[in-house]
């Protein structure tokens, strides 16, 4: 059974990973965050809590997710490539791992009202699902632009009984959805639990969500050792806020022989202003309750991000990634919209697996690795592409 273990990279008691992280929120929310911190300390290593999580992860989500040897692309690239199949989870992505645990925490805290922000809609669907399961009220905040490009997921959330708010302010994407979720939370601080979907936001969320997602790396490590009898050379994951990546990397960070690579959204190219590469092109700053790398103008006004994938379309990144960048414990690179789209088709036609646009960024990176020949690689296939069909159909044309 998965129970988190203390990490070399745990933050301090106020949630700082070096200078990053922390709790930059209105005072009204501080008591709720301190309560959450105390509650999390109680259950972090509790067998009792984790057996409950384990039950749902096994019988409801379908864990462990397979580590699949992708023979066809391996042959083409002359490497040994494994895919961690988070796309096979119930609700179609890694998001559900985190949401089950947070939903159970909300119940323990006696909070029946749940709110969540969502970009691609995967976290919104996962949250709406768990609220249906656990009998909680659910309100989802989603940028109006994302509501339009992810209409299937919006319908799913509604079908599951959630209320969906289309947020019309700013760039009408994930950043603005998060602003409105925070506003709602400040207003209902006493009875509402905010299920944050990624390793971002104020402490303890980045640490908590990392622990909840680290089951990915925990399983993958055991699976690769069983199949190959050795650790991988490289582990690759895409990064928006960074939860699937940190979840995958967590159990490889202490192994010097493993290189972890996080892939940001290169959008139309990092030399343009249309991308989501916060680590490469941003600098440290404060947004949404945390200090991290942000895309911002010289004054500190937050810039709009761009990516073909709604899940990576965010001008910030989880604070632990900012720390790993400066600490050089993880390598970061980026993949453009068009490279991701090529990989989306490539994986579909070579392996019969349609990846989410987000995950396609990680897949695409396989073609950019120098000297890939003979290497043992794990790619985190964080989600499936069903949600992207409508958008893909507009762009791609087959005879």
């Amino acid at each position: 059974m998965y129970i988190p273990s203390p990490s070399t990279f745990d933050p301090d008691t106020n949630g700082h990973f070096g200078i990053f992280g922390g709790r930059y929120v209105p005072e009204t929310l501080m008591p709720a965050l301190l309560e959450l911190h105390d509650e999390y300390e109680k259950i972090r290593f509790s067998r009792d809590f984790w057996s409950e999580v384990d039950y749902y992860l096994k019988d409801y989500v379908g864990r462990p997710s397979p580590l699949y040897f992708a023979a066809n692309i391996s042959k083409e690239l002359k490497a040994r490539i494994y895919l961690k199949r988070e796309d096979l989870n119930h609700t179609g992505a890694h998001k559900v791992n985190n949401v089950i645990a947070q939903g159970l925490m909300a119940k323990r805290l006696g909070k029946k009202k749940i709110i969540a922000e969502t970009g691609a809609g995967q976290h919104g669907v996962a949250t709406a699902t768990i609220c249906a399961l656990l009998g909680l009220e659910c309100e989802i905040f989603m940028g109006a632009k994302d509501v339009a490009r992810q209409e299937l997921n919006v319908f799913r959330m509604k079908l599951l009984g959630a209320t969906v708010h289309a947020v019309e302010s700013g760039s009408c994407t994930l950043k603005d959805a998060m602003n409105d979720a925070i506003r709602h939370w400040v207003t209902h601080a006493r009875d509402t639990f905010y299920i944050i979907g990624t390793v971002a936001g104020p402490h303890p969320y980045p640490m908590m969500v990392r622990d909840f997602q680290a089951i990915i790396g925990w399983e993958a490590r055991a699976q690769i050792l069983e199949k190959e009898n050795r650790l991988p050379d490289t582990v690759i994951a895409c990064i928006g806020g960074g939860s699937n990546a940190i979840g995958m990397f967590q159990h490889f960070l202490d192994d010097k022989e493993v290189t972890c690579i996080g892939i940001e959204a290169g959008g139309l190219g990092v030399e343009t202003e249309q991308h989501g590469a916060s680590l490469l092109k941003g600098r440290p700053g404060v947004l949404h309750g945390q200090m991290s790398y942000l895309l911002q103008d010289p004054d500190g006004q937050i810039l709009e991000a761009h990516s073909i994938s709604a899940g990576l379309d965010y001008p910030g990144i989880g604070p632990e990634h900012a720390f790993h960048k400066e600490n050089r414990s993880v390598a970061y690179d980026n993949i453009t919209d068009s490279e991701a789209l090529d990989a989306f088709v490539w994986l579909s036609q070579k392996e019969g697996i349609i990846p989410a646009f987000e995950s396609a960024h990680a897949i695409a990176y396989l073609k950019k690795i120098d000297n890939i020949e003979g290497k043992l690689i794990i790619v985190n296939l964080s989600g499936r592409g069903d949600k992207d069909m409508i958008q893909a159909k507009e762009i791609l044309h087959f005879n």
Partner: protein
């Protein structure tokens, strides 16, 4: 006499107007002025102030404009800067506080820099004798309040309800006011949702009120000329000042 603090968003419609309005408010019963620094993501603010932030940025507001306005205004009206932490952090806290001290700006109101995070900067605030205004929220326990207000300067900002600025929410603050007063002699001003109708009631048991969205609603009114906007704001200021002291 109970005090009136007025918040205005800088740079809307332009900084010349902000300066004229600030000076006029200073002559109409406003004791202290909060010059708001527009930010792209003002999460503690309701739709009115959010809109003013957005429009000011659209009109080209830059951080340097805050310094220009302050230079004109601070010698005449007690001035504080209200802004989200990222803008101040990007300017550099040492540089910012030095600049504030030079311009005679009395303090900073930073809604997303709670007590714990502010500790790293308390030496800098003290060095330049600029106050970092302490926030108390209705969700705070007496124990936390004791902590937060222990070193409060200028005034303590009591948030009137759990929520964002400019909402019609109401909470009874008498118990929390008593807690604050048992731990600190620093004056307590109540902010959030204070307007001509609510001012008297919100000022009960407090030493003053902070009014923001009510002024900014006038700033955003497209039907009013510059002169009319200033006139309406000063009338509102005098009326609130009178009501809280009745």
């Amino acid at each position: 006499m109970k005090q009136l603090v007025a918040y205005i968003t800088s740079g809307y419609p332009d900084i010349g107007f902000t300066t004229d309005l600030a000076l006029a408010l200073g002559e109409s019963g406003v004791d202290q002025l909060e010059l708001g620094v527009p930010f792209s993501d003002p999460v503690a603010d309701g739709p009115v102030i959010e809109k003013a932030n957005f429009r000011s940025l659209q009109n080209g507001f830059k951080f340097e404009d805050l310094l220009k306005v302050s230079k004109e205004v601070a010698p005449h009206v007690d001035t504080l800067w209200m802004g989200y932490f990222n803008l101040f952090y990007q300017y550099g806290m040492q540089r910012l506080l030095k600049e504030a001290a030079n311009l005679h700006v009395k303090g900073m109101i930073i809604p997303d820099l709670p007590y714990e995070e502010a500790q790293s900067y308390s030496k800098d605030f003290n060095q330049y004798n600029v106050a970092n205004i302490a926030f108390v929220a209705p969700t705070d326990s007496p124990k936390r309040i004791e902590h937060i207000v222990s070193d409060a300067k200028q005034f303590i900002y009591l948030v009137a309800y759990t929520g964002i600025t400019g909402s019609g929410k109401h909470e009874n603050l008498q118990a929390i006011l008593r807690h604050i007063k048992s731990y600190s002699h620093t004056p307590v001003y109540v902010g959030f949702g204070v307007n001509a109708n609510t001012a008297k009631e919100k000022a009960q048991g407090a030493d003053g009120v902070i009014v923001g969205s009510a002024f900014v609603t006038i700033l955003l009114d497209e039907h009013l000329s510059y002169t009319e906007k200033i006139k309406e704001c000063t009338t509102l200021a005098s009326s609130i000042k009178q009501k809280i002291n009745e």
